[in-house]
Structures are given as structure tokens and as C-alpha cells.
């Protein structure tokens, strides 16, 4: 267990370093020039002005030094300064974390609340009508991009019925209801994108477990059907299901980009989109690094939890 833990943590650290190199390298090596974008079509910009800004932003150092400065800063909680506005990236990101966090967690909860019971009901009687219908819904939902779901929700609930507001974000400090009211549509939109993944995976696992001989034994000794499914099969199916949860977090963290854009929420996703449009590399690299690191850490925690829960996994090599 300790050996696995150490190895798994090292792999995660290597992955975090790798992603940071990829993010930084891609932004520096690709042809885009943030300084020229910032000046835009302004006339009267001299080479001296450009050189001055390059010095201010540290572009006159070699790439390796620039990377080192960036990473060293990140460890001190300093993500650098935005190229575009004069705020520090740390401030910009910190402001944007609450909506994104709430949206991600909320959507995963909604997704689990619906897809787990649906998967159980389908797996208990595979091939029957409930299974057929929900599998069809899952295959349809899989093809539904988040922006299409979001637009559909907006048209139905905000434009035509005016039941819910079309977008924005109210912090929890303004009261629970105003906060939730604005969160319902985005969270459901994001949840619909994840549901088919969880549903199909968990259903497959459950069907497999239900055909195992320990299930037949349990049935043979006269345990009630629901008890066999929930206490015996589900417990075994949930461990690989937990790995799926790690993946779903990744989907959710990517999905926030589009969902926040549709619903006009000022979260990390919309911060990244604005930064990409303005070529504000300092903000863009900080945001993407934060999100991908979160994803890597969540996967690590999920993997370790699985190891802890299921001793059988511990004998397997990484």
C-alpha cells in the first residue's frame, strides 16, 4: 500500500509538472504575440515601447528562466500579473473560483442523484422497457453538446416562461434562494452532459456483477432482491464507478467553460475564454494550470480511495 501510494503520488507530481510545461511551452512557442495584440491598431507605437513592455513582463529572459520564475511564483501563491488589465492573476482567479466550484460540485451531485438510481433500475432487468428507454435517453444525451442543452433551457425557462433568470451569479452571502435560483439551469445543463457517462458505465458494471456467482449464492440463500442488488452487487460495482467519478470531474471542469459562457457566469471558464480572446497569456496559463492540477489531484484522491476500499486492487501493479 505504501509503495503504491508513493508511486501514485510521484506519477501525479510528474503529470502536474508535465502539464505546466505543456501549457507554458505551447503559449510561448506558438506564433501569437500578446504585446502586439495589446497595442491593437494604436498608431505611434515604437520599437522602444514594445521593448519596454517586454522588459516589464520579463520577456527578455530566456524561456527556461521565464518558466522558472512563473513556477516559483505559483508556489508562493503569485501567478504573475495580467498582461491586459493591471490586476494580479491571483486576484482575478480568486474572484472567479466560487461560481465554478459551486457549479462543478452541484452538477456532479445532480448527475449522481439521477444516473445512479437509473443505472440500478436498468441493470436489474436488462433489456426490459425501462432499460431500453433510459439507454436511449443516454445515447441521445451523449450527443447533446452542453451549449445546445443550455440554449434549450434558456429558451424554455427564461425566454418563453420567464420562470428562472437567464444568467449571472449571486454569491451565497446574498441569500440561499437567489444563489440557487441562478444555479439551477447551469448545474442541470452540466449534469446532463455527465449523466450518460455515469449511467452507461455503472449499468455495465452492475450487469456484470449481477451475473457473478456470489449474487446467485445470495439469491439462493433467500436474500430479498433489493438487498442482493444494493448490498451485494452495487457495493462491488461502485468501486470502478468511483474511478468514473474522477473522470466525470474532468468533464465537468472542461464543461464549465461552455456553460459559464452560455449563462453569463463570471467563473474560471469565462475567465479563460476572455483571456484567450485577449491573448492574456498570464491569466490563461494560470487558470488552465489551476484547473488541470485540480483534476490531477482529484484523480489521485479517487485512485487512493479505491485502493483503500478494495484490498483486491492492492496486489495489482500500477
Amino acid at each position: 500500500m505504501t509503495r503504491y501510494l508513493v508511486r501514485r503520488v510521484i506519477v501525479s507530481v510528474v503529470m502536474i509538472i508535465g502539464t505546466s510545461v505543456l501549457i507554458f511551452g505551447a503559449l510561448r512557442i506558438l506564433p501569437g504575440n500578446p504585446i502586439l495584440t495589446r497595442f491593437g491598431a494604436n498608431s505611434g507605437v515604437t520599437a522602444a515601447d514594445i521593448a519596454k513592455i517586454e522588459r516589464q513582463l520579463g520577456f527578455d529572459h530566456p524561456l527556461v528562466v521565464q518558466y522558472w520564475n512563473w513556477i516559483a511564483g505559483v508556489f508562493h501563491g503569485n501567478f504573475g500579473k495580467s498582461y491586459f488589465s493591471q490586476f494580479s492573476v491571483t486576484t482575478l482567479i480568486a474572484q472567479r473560483i466560487p461560481p465554478t466550484l459551486e457549479l462543478t460540485v452541484g452538477s456532479i451531485l445532480i448527475c449522481l442523484l439521477i444516473s445512479v438510481p437509473a443505472a440500478i433500475l436498468s441493470a436489474v432487468r436488462p433489456g426490459r422497457s425501462f432499460d431500453r428507454v433510459s439507454s436511449m435517453f443516454a445515447s441521445f444525451a451523449l450527443a447533446l453538446p452542453a451549449f445546445v442543452t443550455g440554449i434549450m433551457f434558456l429558451l424554455i425557462f427564461s425566454v418563453h416562461n420567464r420562470l428562472l433568470p437567464a444568467g449571472g451569479y449571486a454569491p451565497l452571502s446574498k441569500g440561499v434562494w437567489p444563489n440557487i435560483r441562478l444555479m439551477i439551469l447551469p448545474a442541470c445543463t452540466l449534469a446532463i452532459a455527465q449523466m450518460p457517462l455515469v449511467f452507461r458505465f455503472l449499468r455495465g458494471q452492475l450487469v456484470e456483477e449481477l451475473s457473478a456467482s456470489y449474487v446467485r449464492t445470495a439469491q439462493g440463500k433467500g436474500a430479498p432482491r433489493m438487498r442482493v442488488v444494493v448490498r451485494h452487487a452495487l457495493r462491488n460495482a461502485l468501486i470502478p464507478g468511483l474511478t468514473m467519478l474522477g473522470l466525470v470531474t474532468g468533464y465537468a471542469l472542461g464543461g464549465v467553460v461552455v456553460v459559464e459562457y452560455v449563462f453569463g457566469m463570471g467563473g474560471l471558464g469565462s475567465l479563460a475564454v476572455t483571456a484567450a480572446n485577449q491573448r492574456d497569456y498570464a491569466v490563461l496559463q494560470g487558470t488552465v494550470l489551476l484547473i488541470s492540477t485540480t483534476f490531477i489531484i482529484v484523480s489521485l484522491v479517487v485512485d487512493l480511495t479505491c485502493q483503500f476500499l478494495d484490498p483486491r486492487l492492492r496486489t495489482q501493479p500500477l
Binding site: V14, M15, G18, T19, L22, I23, A26, L27, L30, P31, G32, P126, G127, S139, F140, L142, A143, L144, P145, A146, F147, V148, I151, M152, L154, L155, V159, A166, P196, L197, R200, F201, G204, V207, E208, S211, M244, G250, Y251, L253, G254, G255, V257, V258, Y261, V262, A272, V273, A275, A276, N277, L284, Q285, T287, V288, I291, S292, F295, I296, S299
Partner: protein, 298 residues
Amino acid sequence: MPDDIVKELSQGAQPSERAAHPRRRMRGFRLWGRVLLIVSGAVPLLLFLTFLIAPLIAPYGPNTQGTGLPFAVPSSAHWFGTDELGRDLFTRVLYGGALSCEIALGATAIAMILGVLWGFIAAMRGKILDEVLMRSADIVMAIPVILLALIFISGFGANELSLIVVIGFLLSPSTARIARSVALTETSRDYYSAAVAYGASWRRLILREIFPNARQSLVAMSVINVANAILLEASLSFLGLGIQPPQDSLGSLLQEGFSFLYNSVAYLFFPALIIVILIWSLNVFADQLAVFSDRRAL
């Protein structure tokens, strides 16, 4: 990405799931599966062909303004209605679809070439190179694909060519993973050892030995890639980081329509419908292809 399809492709179908269906239903399933396979393959193909001949069948020019009143509802003159400048939306969807499909097919070609080489080399060389190649694929996949796309697009600029290259590159690591596991099952078979034993060259091993046997899985994988490329292109264009006006793609049409959310439903409905139909049918097609290639193998 539909992960269960990927799992099925790399590991083969779980026999227990099939065992769960009573045998007498198999015949019905097989027929239904065949119908599904043909329909889900024909729908995207027909759409692609329609987009291809857009200049021949489009009733107006793609940027001709004032062909009708602004925000006209669908009618016989304007099947999909008109936009804010009175341009015909049916025409714009045809041209937009053509561009979307062009990007998706181009990106898939890049993803398949890059990913298959990446995965095959990892599987055939093994050891350190395998570890390095697969860890780097993991690193690329640890960043949510849309965020990595934002980085690449803001570096390359938002235009057709950079979208093809960027989307192609972003889809390659997942392709590499599948290609690797498919190649691993082939390299463990006797015919492969035989080919190695009589001294077949690398080119022969890849092109004549592994490739023909891995073909079915790779075809299914490329269908999934087309669906994912359409999705990614539409997402990026919707965020304003893809195709820029006056060019149109399905995603950029949606983006323009989104700013007139309160004026016109048709503006949003038709591009969205086409995107959903394309992705859905391609997913089902890939699913059925995987099922059929399994069945033949068993």
C-alpha cells in the same frame, strides 16, 4: 467522449452482458442492429453529401442580404427562416455545415495518422519508449480538451487551418491509447511473432501485419473522432474562438443566433439540430461498428 465505446474497443465486449440477454432475443437484436448500423451510417453521409453540393442547391448566396424580412419565420421561400440581415438561414446552414464537416474530416485525418503512429510505436517498441509516449499522452489528456484548445487557438489564431491542426492534435492522444491497446493484442499473436521471426521490416510490420487486423477498430475510432471534432469545432466557434465572420460554421451560426435569443428561435434551432443529429448518428454508428466487429471476431 463515450468512454464505454472506447473500453469496448480496447477490451472487446463483456461476454456477461450478452449472456444477460436470453438467446431467443438474439435474432431480433441482430436485425435491429443491422438496421441501426445502416441508418446511423447513412444519415451523416447524406448530410455530408448535401453540404458538399451546397453551391448547387442553395437557393441564395451565403452572404446575400435582404433576401427576405429580418427574422422571418420558416416558410416555403426560406425553409429555415432568415437572420438579422435577412440572409437565408437554410443557405447559411448548408455552407456552415460544409465548413464544419471539412474541419472535422481534416482534423480526424490528422488525429488518426498522429494517434495511430503514436500508439503503434509505443506498442511495438515497448519498454521505456512505451512508458514515455503513454505518459505524455496522459499529460495531454489531463488538461480538459476545451481549455487546451483555448491555449492553442490563442497561440495559432482563430481560423480554419489552425482549427484543423489544433483539433487534430487534441484528439490524437486518446486515439493513440486505443491504437496502442489494439496493437498490443495483435503483437501478442503468433502471426506477428512469425513475421518478426522471418525478419519483416518495420514498414511491413505496421502496414501489412498489424494494420489490416486492427482496421475495424480503427475505423470505429475514426468515426468517434469525427463526432468529437464536430463537437469541439462547434464549441470553439460558439465561444468566438473558431470560425470568424464572414465565414460560417455550424458553431459560429449558433453563436450569432445566441445574441438574438429573444428575437428568433429558428436561428438557433436549425444549426443546433444539425449538430445534434450529426453527433448522435456518428456515435451510434461507431457503437454498432464496434459491436459488429466483435461479433465477427467471436
